[in-house]
Subunit: 207 residues, 2 copies
């Protein structure tokens, strides 16, 4: 049986950044295949009756998160700059990610969008920025953006978000290995270990 | 300078169980001193306008947490049984923990209370159960319970809970190393590493 990990992510989610940057490399080392599964976390928050992100609703938690992002990225040698606008509009990037999830360039695209937002403080809601990323990857940006913004392209992201809700994906990043759920960047290594070995690790060694 | 970690915990918090059971042993191996810091998480939830635990407010998250508790405890070889009543009333245990935080038996007391609730499905709100735990530890249970329930004893827990809020301790377990905050059982090893080395680990090895 092929070892597969579904990586559920949302572009506005800060903790999805360090996880998205690392998941393919860590999974490859463990012989695990990654499926990129974008969704809209706002659909989950709506179920809770939240009209904004929990980082605004719960200030102590939000402050902790931004501090944590900085130290996590530093410890991983990931470039990081706190976005001057938060959350940014990741709708176009999400539509593209849902419609081209099987394309060989999708991992590079996703990492480039996260890097623009969380390392370079750029507006990923700007379609020109998204087009530039696609062009640099040698893709036909005009066609891809038109397809992503078509009725069918929009529908694809909506369906995938519904699937996330049905699978109780309540946060991001969220890893599913078969029916086994793992929530958060903190659990990325563990989820990959589980995909590779079919069980949780017994010990954690930090170095 | 002595290396010290403040371990903030709440008796009703499931994830505090695996963390409380492990923190002293892991800290000792790393040459770090643990200060037991109990508080009432309800005071945080009141700030959010929540009248019950987030596990009831957000069912998908609650279901994940109980599943996660089971697999985490199994992987750590910790006995675990999902409490048939949740949350249980940990007020007396918390008052004792606040008032006797410096006593040499306090770690054993705290672990015994957590084990009663999360391994043996016992009612930790029952003062006889608490008295039995103290008696087994060779302590004068009648005197300790009377002091914990005195006006002064109650006040001590209230003050410590206020201190938690002032330090933005918004969940449990919560580790503070100086001003550096770490939230959750997932971050226990990292917090101890930080207390020992003054920096975060660069890599995580699971085995």
């Amino acid at each position: 049986m092929e070892k597969t990990l579904d990586f559920w992510f949302e572009y506005a989610s800060p903790y999805s950044y360090p996880a998205a940057m690392r998941v393919e490399q860590l999974a490859e080392q463990a012989g695990v295949n990654v499926r990129w599964r974008v969704f809209l976390l706002g659909a989950v928050f709506q179920q809770y009756g939240w009209k904004t992100t929990p980082n605004e609703l719960f200030p102590a938690k939000g402050n902790y998160m931004w501090h944590d992002m900085q130290r996590i990225c530093a410890s991983l040698n990931l470039p990081y700059q706190r976005p001057s606008t938060f959350p940014r509009n990741g709708m176009l990037a999400a539509r593209i990610s849902a419609n081209y999830a099987e394309s060989e360039w999708i991992g590079d695209f996703i990492r480039a969008v996260y890097t623009a937002n969380f390392a370079h403080d750029q507006d990923i809601g700007n379609s020109e920025l998204i087009a530039n990323i696609l062009d640099k990857l040698g893709q036909d940006s005009a066609q891809i953006i038109a397809e992503a913004n078509s009725d069918e392209g929009k529908q694809k992201l909506k369906q995938q978000t519904q699937q996330a809700l049905q699978q109780d994906v309540f946060g991001a990043p969220f890893m599913m290995v078969g029916n086994e759920p793992f929530w958060g960047n903190d659990r990325l290594e563990q989820a990959i270990y589980f995909a590779a070995h079919g069980k949780l690790p017994a010990s954690v060694i930090l170095a």
